[in-house]
């Protein structure tokens, strides 16, 4: 699961000589909040975001309507963009969790994805949420079971072996440390089988140290 597999390819881009009026209308036309600015060979020159386009109303105080229009229509993207050296980017070969970390640490919503210096895609928080969703969503109806287990090696294996023995199919699985109890680990399994919730709960609870915390049907 690498950035290049999940980014949006062929992002919308701007030229540095475009006017900011153009940039603004382009942004709403194509429904995005971030536009990389590129030069020859799609090399990254900068980034335009909704925020960079917000013009401090105070700065226009002394101008009348006509002067504002002229001032704005003459202003180029390169004047207000975040310059390439200040743009936080990610390489296309990075893992998606690294991209997520970069966004969280820097409190940013989007990362231009580069190959060398060339823009090859964009990765937004939304892209990551979409992937998270895909990771957890089942494509067929089944049971979604949250299991709490001791946080030590071999426990997941026990759960798998138990499910395997019953002949149930696992559609997807994910886990993370329990945030309230650092000795335990929470795992979510999606089971597809012709079996009742009670049976599943009972069977899994029989594994030593394992406990079903939540079970529900999914479509």
């Amino acid at each position: 699961m690498l950035v290049k597999d999940y980014m949006s390819r062929h992002p919308f881009m701007l030229e540095e000589d475009s006017s900011i009026v153009e940039a603004q209308s382009y942004m709403s036309e194509v429904h995005v909040r971030h536009l990389p600015v590129v030069g020859d060979g799609k090399r990254l020159l900068g980034l335009i975001t909704r925020e960079t386009l917000m013009i401090e109303p105070g700065s226009l105080d002394s101008l009348n309507v006509w002067e504002i229009t002229r001032y704005l229509s003459g202003m180029k993207v390169k004047k207000i963009m975040i310059k390439a050296r200040d743009v936080i980017t990610v390489d296309e070969t990075a893992a998606i969790e690294d991209a997520a970390l970069l966004m969280i640490e820097n409190k940013i919503g989007c990362l231009p994805v580069l190959s060398g210096r060339v823009v090859v895609g964009m990765m937004t928080q939304e892209d990551l949420l979409v992937q998270l969703c895909r990771l957890l969503v089942t494509r067929r109806p089944g049971l979604r079971v949250s299991v709490s287990m001791p946080d030590k090696p071999g426990e997941t294996k026990k759960l798998m072996a138990c499910v395997e023995k019953q002949g149930w199919e696992i559609q997807s699985m994910g886990g993370m440390p329990d945030l309230r109890d650092d000795t335990r680990y929470s795992t979510m399994v999606k089971i597809i089988a012709d079996v009742s919730m009670e049976d599943v709960q009972e069977t899994i609870n029989q594994i030593e140290g394992h406990e079903v915390r939540d079970i529900r049907e999914t479509q």
Partner: protein, 706 residues
């Protein structure tokens, strides 16, 4: 919970053309080459554009990149790329878009390659100059991309000039070059039209893979319905400058809505269906030029369903309720393709089985044709080098019964044309026997009896090359009549007129010059000329390859009709296996000068196959996206005919060699295995093994055109 829905920004097409009209300024005014074109292509979609030549397909592509030449311009409408209108964009920004985000691949790869520059340098330039990449990194990336387009020996190709690789390889280099920029939009104008089916199949596989891997939006222009069925997700059908139908590829082939689309489907033979059910019905008439389009519906003069309203009111492109299909026809809801009946005056030949005759008209035994070539070394220049020969035809043996058709298929350079040239006497046989009507014909034409020449005529792919441009049609056809004293002088004009009529050309063509004829009309004149001397055998070298499908169907029917009427024997060379199957009783499959399989057509197209026949069949693009076709691909490239592999010449590329317990046996000459009397396969693999191989093509649906 369902799949997350796509975001709005993802739904913005990479290319969005609305109501486009393109005009060319010509002497005395201008012509609108295309009108009212509306289409969009999203990321990862491959939009086919299909239609006959002159319908405006290329013009659409050129308009996008503003390559319309000095006299062309966008007259109306918009062309949005990634949400930005390109119309009127000039200079730097357009140049950058064209270079970095939109790539174009033409039919002729040399249009994109510099003949005097190493391929590696041309490829690397894309990365070093535009993207500022280091030379060593660029070298690595280029080799990787060449490997991705399945270029054999990629590193070596980097150090060659364009002319040192084959046309198919050049096209792969061009595609690799286009992809190095990772374009959002790839425009391809007939990129495989000049390639062999086997190479074409590999390029089409590649395009499908790349579309998915790079999420590229592709516009794929072709005249070939089979190709469009294989590469497209959506298809637009163009006719006389307009888009007459637009649908998903499945819908278009399942239920074509526009009478023109339906007509196109009835023109092309389809592999995998029963031969008798695939009668070809040409569309009468021809595409009008831009300045001769009729009022009302542009298709009405050729439409079987025309009514009053069609002549008066131009139909709009409208969507068919409950589908994703758009059509430009007033009445498509009322038109049921299944109940279409051919017009009564249409002659459809080939439906009655031919009489069985036993007379062999042509017999070839162990025929061999070598061409002497000079090498490039200093020794060769002084004539001291070893003599080198191109082994164009090796040990060919077959018989043709009177009144039947023998089809010869194989990739370019396999010796098809040499074989017929030797038979007709344009080349002198190196060795072996060839008897026509019992006469020896291993000598060249100058040594032949005039009677013999008269009985053996030829139709060429490009009739232009054999026509004197300053002779009228009448004179062209009269020449052989005079030369062979077929009839008294005073009757010649009548005979020419009769021939013209039987070619459905009409007397008004008598005084026309070749340049006033369309491709199909020229080919009719070529056939009339070949027929003039009442020959017993006509050799046809790719007679329909250069023609549009509707014209192609008419010419094929014409040849069949002639055969029915005069009992003429035909040898029919074609690279198109669907056409050959339709046309021939016997088929001969050649590879690198060697006959690989020979037999009745029905048997050639069903197992047991020779491994080469199997690969050829698997490559044929079938005009049916639901057709199941096995993927058997030949590896590598055709070896040189100067030093062909020993034993079975296919052994360097054979996909089935591994079936043998000892594949090295293929380095020795294979046996001729007899499937039935008259059906032979030249291969080491025993017939029982070959019989186990599944059929290449299976088509489940019935052919609704039949």
């Amino acid at each position: 919970m369902a799949e997350p829905t796509r975001r709005k920004s993802e739904d913005i097409p990479v290319l969005d053309i609305e109501n486009l009209a393109v005009a060319y300024k010509v002497r005395g005014g201008e012509v609108e080459a295309v009108q009212n074109i509306t289409l969009d292509i999203k990321k990862g979609e491959s939009h086919g554009i299909v239609g006959e030549s002159g319908c405006g397909k290329s013009t659409c592509a050129w308009a996008i990149i503003n390559f319309l030449g000095a006299n062309g311009y966008v007259k109306r409408g918009s062309i949005k790329f990634q949400g930005k209108n390109l119309v009127g964009k000039k200079g730097e920004e357009l140049r950058r878009l064209r270079g970095d985000q939109i790539a174009m691949v033409y039919q002729d790869p040399m249009q994109s390659l510099n003949p005097s520059m190493l391929l590696g340098d041309q490829l690397k330039e894309v990365l070093t100059v535009h993207q500022g990449m280091s030379n060593s990194q660029a070298e690595k990336d280029c080799i990787r991309m060449l490997e991705k387009v399945q270029m054999p020996d990629a590193a070596n190709v980097m150090r060659r000039f364009p002319h040192q690789i084959s046309g198919g390889q050049q096209q792969r280099v061009v595609i690799a070059m286009a992809l190095l920029n990772n374009p959002a939009l790839l425009l391809m104008d007939e990129p495989t039209t000049a390639l062999d089916v086997t190479v074409e199949a590999a390029v089409l596989d590649l395009i499908a893979d790349l579309r998915k891997e790079f999420n590229t939006a592709i516009m794929y222009i072709t005249h070939d319905l089979g190709v469009v069925a294989r590469v497209s997700t959506k298809v637009g059908v163009m006719y006389a400058g307009e888009m007459v139908e637009r649908a998903t590829v499945e819908e278009l082939f399942k239920s074509p809505q526009h009478p023109y689309t339906q007509g196109l489907m009835r023109c092309v033979p389809k592999l995998g269906t029963d031969r008798s059910s695939s009668i070809l019905y040409p569309i009468p008439g021809r595409v009008p030029p831009p300045d001769g389009r009729p009022a009302g519906c542009v298709f009405w003069p050729r439409c079987d369903y025309v009514r009053k309203r069609c002549r008066e009111e131009r139909p709009k492109l409208r969507s068919i309720a409950g589908t994703e299909t758009w059509v430009r026809c007033h009445f498509s809801e009322d038109i049921d393709m299944g109940s279409w009946e051919p017009p009564e005056d249409l002659v459809v030949p080939g439906t009655v089985p031919k009489k069985e005759v036993d007379e062999t008209i042509l017999e070839v035994k162990g025929l061999k044709k070598y061409y002497r070539v000079r090498g490039n070394s200093l020794k060769d220049v002084f004539g001291m080098g070893e003599k080198q020969y191109v082994k164009a035809v090796e040990h060919a043996s077959f018989k043709v019964p009177r009144g039947k058709t023998l089809g010869i298929v194989g990739e370019s350079g396999c010796g098809k044309s040499t074989l017929v040239k030797t038979i007709i006497g344009l080349e002198h046989a190196t060795d072996g026997e060839a008897r026509f009507l019992g006469f020896d014909i291993t000598n060249s034409i100058s040594a032949r009896d005039r009677k013999l020449i008269q009985e053996l005529q030829m139709v060429f792919q490009n009739p232009d090359s054999t026509m004197n441009p300053s002779y009228t049609v009448g004179q062209q056809i009269a020449r052989p009549l005079k030369r062979f004293n077929v009839m008294p002088k005073e009757k010649i004009t009548d005979e020419v007129l009769r021939l013209l009529r039987s070619m459905r050309l009409g007397e008004k063509y008598y005084d026309r010059l070749p340049r006033q004829l369309s491709g199909g009309e020229k080919q009719r004149v070529g056939i009339a000329r070949a027929l003039a001397s009442h020959p017993d055998l006509i050799l046809c070298d790719e007679p329909v390859s250069a023609l549009d499908v509707s014209v192609q169907a008419a010419i094929i029917n014409l040849l069949l009709e002639i055969q029915e009427e005069f009992g003429t024997t035909l040898i029919f060379i074609s690279h198109d296996l669907s056409v050959t199957r339709f046309f021939s009783e016997y088929v001969c499959v050649m590879y690198l000068g060697q006959i690989m399989e020979l037999g009745p057509a029905e048997e050639i197209y069903a197992p047991p196959y020779h491994p080469y026949t199997e690969a050829l069949l698997s490559a044929v693009p079938i005009p049916d996206p639901t057709a199941k076709q096995k993927r058997v691909r030949l590896q590598g490239v055709v070896p040189s005919a100067i030093a062909p592999p020993s034993g079975c010449r296919l052994n360097t590329r054979c996909p089935r060699r591994e079936m043998l317990p000892d594949p090295d046996i293929c380095l020795t000459d294979p046996p001729w295995r007899e499937v039935h009397p008259g059906h032979h396969i030249y291969c080491h693999i025993p017939l029982d093994e070959l019989r186990k191989i599944d059929p290449v093509v299976s088509i489940k649906e019935v052919n609704h055109a039949g």
